[in-house]
Symmetry: C2
Amino acid sequence: MISQTRRLRRTPFSDGVEAQGVSAYTVYNRMLLPTVFESVEADYHHLKKHVQVWDVACERQVELRGPDASRLMQMLTPRDLRGMGVGQCYYVPIVDETGGMLNDPVAVKLSEDRWWISIADSDLLLWVKGVANGYRLDVLVDEPDVSPLGIQGPKSDELMARVFGDAVRDIRFFRYGVFDFEGRDMVIARSGYSKQGGFEIYVEGGDIGMPLWDALFKAGEDLQVRAGCPNGIERIEGGLLSYGNDMTDDNTPHECGLGKFCNTHTAIGCIGRDALLRVAKEGPVQQIRPIAIAGDPVPGCDRVWPLYAGDKRVGQVTSAAWSPDFNTNVAIGMVRMTHWDAGTELRVDIKGEERAAVVQEKFWL
Amino acid sequence: MISQTRRLRRTPFSDGVEAQGVSAYTVYNRMLLPTVFESVEADYHHLKKHVQVWDVACERQVELRGPDASRLMQMLTPRDLRGMGVGQCYYVPIVDETGGMLNDPVAVKLSEDRWWISIADSDLLLWVKGVANGYRLDVLVDEPDVSPLGIQGPKSDELMARVFGDAVRDIRFFRYGVFDFEGRDMVIARSGYSKQGGFEIYVEGGDIGMPLWDALFKAGEDLQVRAGCPNGIERIEGGLLSYGNDMTDDNTPHECGLGKFCNTHTAIGCIGRDALLRVAKEGPVQQIRPIAIAGDPVPGCDRVWPLYAGDKRVGQVTSAAWSPDFNTNVAIGMVRMTHWDAGTELRVDIKGEERAAVVQEKFWL
């Protein structure tokens, strides 16, 4: 059971989530994030077939505004942002001075001097504020009243077109447009934490949250729209990483397989650049891999499960679930380079029970 | 229900907590914090009469180490630290450049160049790292493997003496000593998040957590020692504030009644000093107050409850519980200066239900 207090913040959509019968939560950025409605498996099948509305308000925004906003944004990430235009969203690893991951958010460029960073589960606001203060940058940094609402699933385009007009269909992947809802501007991006397609609506002003929620459900009745949430099976099948689960500040972006988002040579000004130059050159000694675990459905992965080759510990599993569609336990783990080749047979220790595990070539998706 | 994943970190004591029958959790610093064992009320009576062992590992430490450690520590807080010696613990409001509270931790001075900051619920580590980096300070900042274990209740001295020897009885309030357990040094402070007296053991190294836990329970059998946790009734009676519940980064220390911990004129170097000088001079326009709420036991305070005088909103309640010992609903709220005098009669809106509420002279304790 979870004890609900003000500290675990409700969202503009919490009343809607409760009315739709949420049955479990997690806490993410000190905010409630639904994890189950009907059941993880029923939610999973529905997500892959229909369309869901997700309360992901817990993806809080860090807003940078002012003449130094773009300079500060580049200080935070090894991804080269020079080619990024207004209207684009970039997945950006955020690193500290040692190259350790502090967050893996999506940056939204609103104008040359205004950005939103849509964060994973850590108080990135405090890092950004500390850096801005220490370097005496001319920029305002705060958390605005903006709450993302996810629309995910194969019928997302149809549902969104009914509420915002057909122009939403033209939004390209990781681009956004600005659309009207009841006289209010909303940033709508084609993005989201599933592989089923969809959008994220950056809802500015908590008061408009429930009117939008209700409009979406009304418009989508015949589409079988339901409340949903990031799905613990689907996101592992698709290899979507979870900060705090699959990586922490112990890990570099390269260990997380995010080297393709690092332009270490050209990302001039990035605080962690020096530390990452060597990693970029020599490569990491451990890396995230998809892993199949044999046997019956595994329990919830509430702690690290060590991976062994013989008596030697060679890694760990950090997320796992039974996949109905692929008929195996799908998992995400960090594996030493000596044992990370596809097909490598390992053993995983699940709270004292040993299971066979095999490194996969790629995620299932 | 709460979905348990690695991201919501277990503690070195989680196995013990589960064996003792924890029945509810909250999440604090992305770590599990027990909130109920038998029931909030049964736990409350036991805490006031016997002794409890609390898994408060979620009070993570931010360690500062290096030549600039003391300088950095003073940059973080408006409390003047010049008179603080090794062996002392200080409750220190931490503020940003606007004077907004980022955390309300306890600072532990281990030596002139080494500090622990025992934090409330926000990633203070990221603020401190950002500041240290921006100001190019010569200091290491990280989160060590240190997990506080609370011993609280009137029989705390007796239990602790049995495990650590009679010298623990001599530790003064907000002082610490270093004691041996199975060949390991442990910092033990007379402090804790209750008004019933007790200690906090800073357990260094997760591996020694359960041996210590077991030793405490074995030594305290006849003292009726039990697993416990910060108690939602007792802490409100005693006026112990909760960061995220009773105050946020919107509030200054003065609004939180923590002006006595601010030496704004002499805390040279504090980042928020300029912003707080005016507040210190003119006083805040709203402040935290004890508030009694009439009627039957109130529900859990999972969101802000507005306070009204006539039609005018004059504040909000942020924590509340039924107190068996004082036979009223005890509450903590933030009240505008026009209505904060003791005895002022207000109305509180509890999710649509109005109740009479009266500002109190002091907390119940």
